[in-house]
């Protein structure tokens, strides 16, 4: 049994990544979280900014060798819970397509999601009865943005459909035998007359558990590449990643504690509102993400709630965290208590499309600091 222990606060992508890498380094990890993280709202691809250009400034700079090592480790980690992440071959930043037909930069992308370095002609598939599936507008935008041809086809509602069918329901249906054969048959029919060879993109609802198998079969039968484009929340890609990743962590002995952190002490110790307290050799705060409210640690050690530009604490001791509201719990750095993900100041992935780089760089840096303190 390991002698080193760690606490991770938050179970979004930054928390999960920290947990996995801490395990690899021999820590015994307890995750404290009061709700689900944002994995279910995020398609699961790791972005790296708009360009790989050398002038791109990140709040944490890694050398290109370090970046490629970081992405290599990430690919291996994803493989361990059954998701294949594809890295770009060349230096360019690949793009994926969105539900409204925009080309959004991506970098390491799960193999079920469409990604390409060059604009190309695509067949957009809409499904009747699926909210956010607006194939006409999507194809029109894509045509305009990419300058390439965009074909549109629509599938009719599946049998048994009613208005309660959201993305999860579609995905669960397509995981079953009835759904899989319905999809194969209707797609074959719909693609009749569309020039062969042109890649097909489907809304991201192609199963939760059998996705890879379903997409491979569709590609083989249709003799063209078939992949998905991400939808808005809940994001099925992220749910797949979340479910498989959490399963692995549970089996690796990680405890997922439900509860709200009220106070973090430099010991490090985390106190929950229900009176429980947890101590460990190091503590990573991964709760400043999309749902955590975007708190930041500034260079002088102040913790600032960005939304209202208000200082809510200092890095050396944080208390009354719950009083700031549960969307605002955040962060301190230095020593054994470190911030990762968006909790680390200076990143703005919404603007810069570099959320993936942010996750890797902050987690990597924090782990390096933990190890240094241990020595």
């Amino acid at each position: 049994m390991s002698s080193k222990t760690a606490i991770v606060v938050g179970r979004g992508p930054a928390g999960m990544l920290s947990t996995s890498y801490l395990l690899q380094r021999g820590y015994q990890v307890t995750v404290l979280a009061e709700s689900d993280g944002s994995l279910g709202m995020w398609p699961g691809d790791f972005s790296f900014g708009r360009t790989t250009d050398a002038f791109q400034a990140f709040p944490i700079e890694l050398s290109s060798a370090e970046w490629s090592q970081a992405f290599g480790e990430l690919v291996a980690l994803y493989r361990s819970f059954g998701v294949t992440l594809v890295l770009p071959q060349a230096q360019d930043i690949p793009h994926t397509v969105t539900a409204i037909g925009n080309m959004r930069p991506t970098f390491a992308t799960p193999n079920w999601q469409y990604a390409s370095s060059e604009p190309e002609s695509l067949v957009f598939v809409g499904i009747d009865g699926l909210a956010d599936s607006i194939v006409g507008a999507q194809a029109a935008t894509y045509r305009r943005r990419s300058g390439c041809e965009a074909y549109e086809v629509s599938l009719s509602r599946p049998p048994g459909w009613d208005s309660s069918w959201g993305t999860i329901r579609f995905a669960a249906y397509l995981d079953g035998d009835a759904g899989a054969s319905w999809l194969a048959a209707t797609l074959r029919e719909a693609l009749r007359g569309v020039p062969s060879g042109i890649p097909v993109v489907l809304p991201q609802v192609i199963g939760l558990e059998h996705t890879e198998k379903l997409l491979t079969q569709l590609s083989e039968v249709g003799k063209r590449s078939v992949s998905e484009f991400p939808l808005l929340s809940p994001s099925i890609g992220g749910v797949r990643v979340r479910d498989r990743w959490e399963r692995l962590l549970r089996q690796q002995g990680v405890r997922f504690v439900s509860g709200r952190v009220r106070e973090v002490q430099p010991v490090p110790r985390a106190l929950l509102t229900d009176g429980r307290s947890f101590e460990a050799d190091c503590l990573l705060l991964a709760s400043g993400g999309v749902l955590g409210g975007g708190m930041q640690v500034t260079v002088d050690g102040a913790i600032v709630d960005e939304l209202v530009n208000r200082e809510v604490g200092r890095m050396d001791h944080l208390d009354a965290l719950d009083a700031h509201g549960h969307r605002e719990i955040d962060c301190l750095g230095g020593g054994r208590v470190l911030a990762v993900g968006r909790a680390m100041g200076g990143w703005n992935p919404n603007r810069d499309h570099n959320g993936g780089a942010m996750l890797l760089a902050t987690v990597r840096t924090a782990l390096g600091m933990c190890e240094e303190v241990d020595r």
């Binding site: 307890t30 709700s35 689900d36 279910g40 709202m41 048994g160 009613d162 309660s164 959201g166 999860i168 329901r169 669960a172 249906y173 929340s233 809940p234 749910v239 979340r242 399963r247 549970r250 089996q251 002995g253 990680v254 405890r255 997922f256 504690v257 439900s258 509860g259 229900d274 009176g275 749902l291 549960h326 969307r327």
Partner: protein, 389 residues
């Protein structure tokens, strides 16, 4: 009843929908967001009719634990259920099933032919528990020990344990004793925490039940260090729901049995059990309500310390038993669809440990593998150890 907090805080992220076990298997179930916050908004505006299938919600609360902004989703759905009209026939059944404390007083009722329940809407295919009531003499014996000077720990005797699983109570008491405590079963008469009524949308009844049980429990807490619970739903209800929704508090900490043992036992205790040869493969199942209330992994962590073979996690979300849910005819299909996954994920046979009696009978029926409370397993190992010594 206290007013809700954050009932209108929904940011429409749909994370609750991704967490709901019923939404994945029941093609008509509208899901937590539609039945909870969306419906409640209309309801407050005075324009909501109850939706179909609202009663298919198991009240597992996994939706609530996923929600980033604390919307009391399952509790809003309980209000929704209260308004959903139901046939008088089902109302009678639900009234009976939401008073498990009565059944616990005459557990042999379940031996009546199952077909008798069919007209009432009681499932004839779901396995009923075998009665195993707490004997008066046993009660008496446990009470006598109270005089000693050791540290005293209360054990909340829930309806199921009282009527159908006295073995678990005796085992838990024996394990606590082994750890140096005196176990005090409470309350003395059959009571229910009120969870069954709340889950069915009988909110007034839930509160009345809780109040009467609270009185009975409170009376017995003086001199106790803590109260341990044997069932995850009762545990969450006593510690979290009572104060939050009814303003009822217990002056001593309330803890699940497993967490208590993990926290208080010394390394010697774990080592003694760990070394025993010939143990079966253990699967651990964290019930939904234990995930919601405390989190996942403590049962697994305990088993990692005491089981000679590495334990495995039964990788399912909700088993579908959900208290009295699986006993209702209209829910049998969903309950079985959820529970069937258990058999699919088990690589080889073993023994399943879980801290809920109704989950245990459901899982045992659907997997064919013995399913018991962890206290019983621990106690069994301690007894074996004595024999082997």
């Amino acid at each position: 009843m206290k007013r809700f907090e954050y009932e209108d805080a929904c940011i429409k992220c749909s994370l609750c929908v991704t967490a709901c076990p019923v939404y994945r298997v029941d093609q008509q179930f509208p899901g937590p967001k539609a039945l909870g916050p969306d419906w409640y908004r209309h309801y407050q505006a005075g324009e909501a009719k109850p939706m179909e299938h609202v009663s298919d919600c198991t009240f597992c609360q996994l939706c609530e634990s996923a929600c980033p902004v604390d919307v009391p989703i399952a509790h809003l759905i309980a209000v929704h259920k209260e308004l959903a009209s139901q046939s008088p026939r089902l109302a009678v059944r639900d009234y009976l099933l939401t008073h498990p404390q009565w059944l616990a007083m005459v557990p042999s009722l379940v031996k009546l032919p199952k077909q008798l329940g069919v007209p009432l809407g009681i499932s004839s295919s779901t396995q009923w528990p075998a009665p195993s009531p707490l004997q008066r003499s046993r009660r008496h014996r446990t009470h006598q020990r109270q005089g000693s000077a050791t540290r005293r720990i209360g054990i909340f005797v829930d309806c199921f344990t009282r009527g159908f699983d006295s073995e678990t109570l005796l085992a838990a008491s024996a394990v606590l004793e082994e750890l140096g405590y005196t176990a005090v079963p409470l309350p003395s008469a059959s009571h229910c925490c009120g969870a069954a009524a709340y889950a069915s949308g009988l909110l007034g009844e839930a509160e009345r039940t809780a109040r009467s049980t609270h009185r009975a429990v409170r009376r017995m807490t003086s001199g106790l260090e803590a109260v341990v619970t044997l069932n995850a739903t009762c545990d969450d209800t006593l510690r979290v729901e009572w104060p939050r929704y009814f303003g009822l508090t217990i002056p001593v900490p309330i803890l699940p049995f497993v967490d208590f043992v993990l926290d208080r036992a010394n390394p010697g205790f774990f080592e003694r059990i760990h070394g025993l040869p010939g143990q079966e493969l253990i699967y651990t199942h964290a019930t939904c309500r234990s995930k919601v209330a405390r989190g996942e992994g403590s049962l697994f962590a305990l088993m990692e310390r005491v089981s000679e073979r590495p334990p495995q996690i039964l990788e399912i979300s909700c088993c579908g038993a959900a208290g009295s849910y699986a006993f209702k005819t209209e829910h049998t299909k969903v309950a079985r669809a959820l529970g069937h996954r258990a058999k699919e994920v088990m690589g080889e046979p073993g023994i399943i440990l879980t801290d809920s009696g109704t989950c245990a009978i459901h899982l045992q029926e659907l997997t064919g593998c013995q399913t018991i409370h962890p206290a019983r397993w621990l106690h069994g190992q301690l007894k074996r150890q004595e024999v082997l010594r």
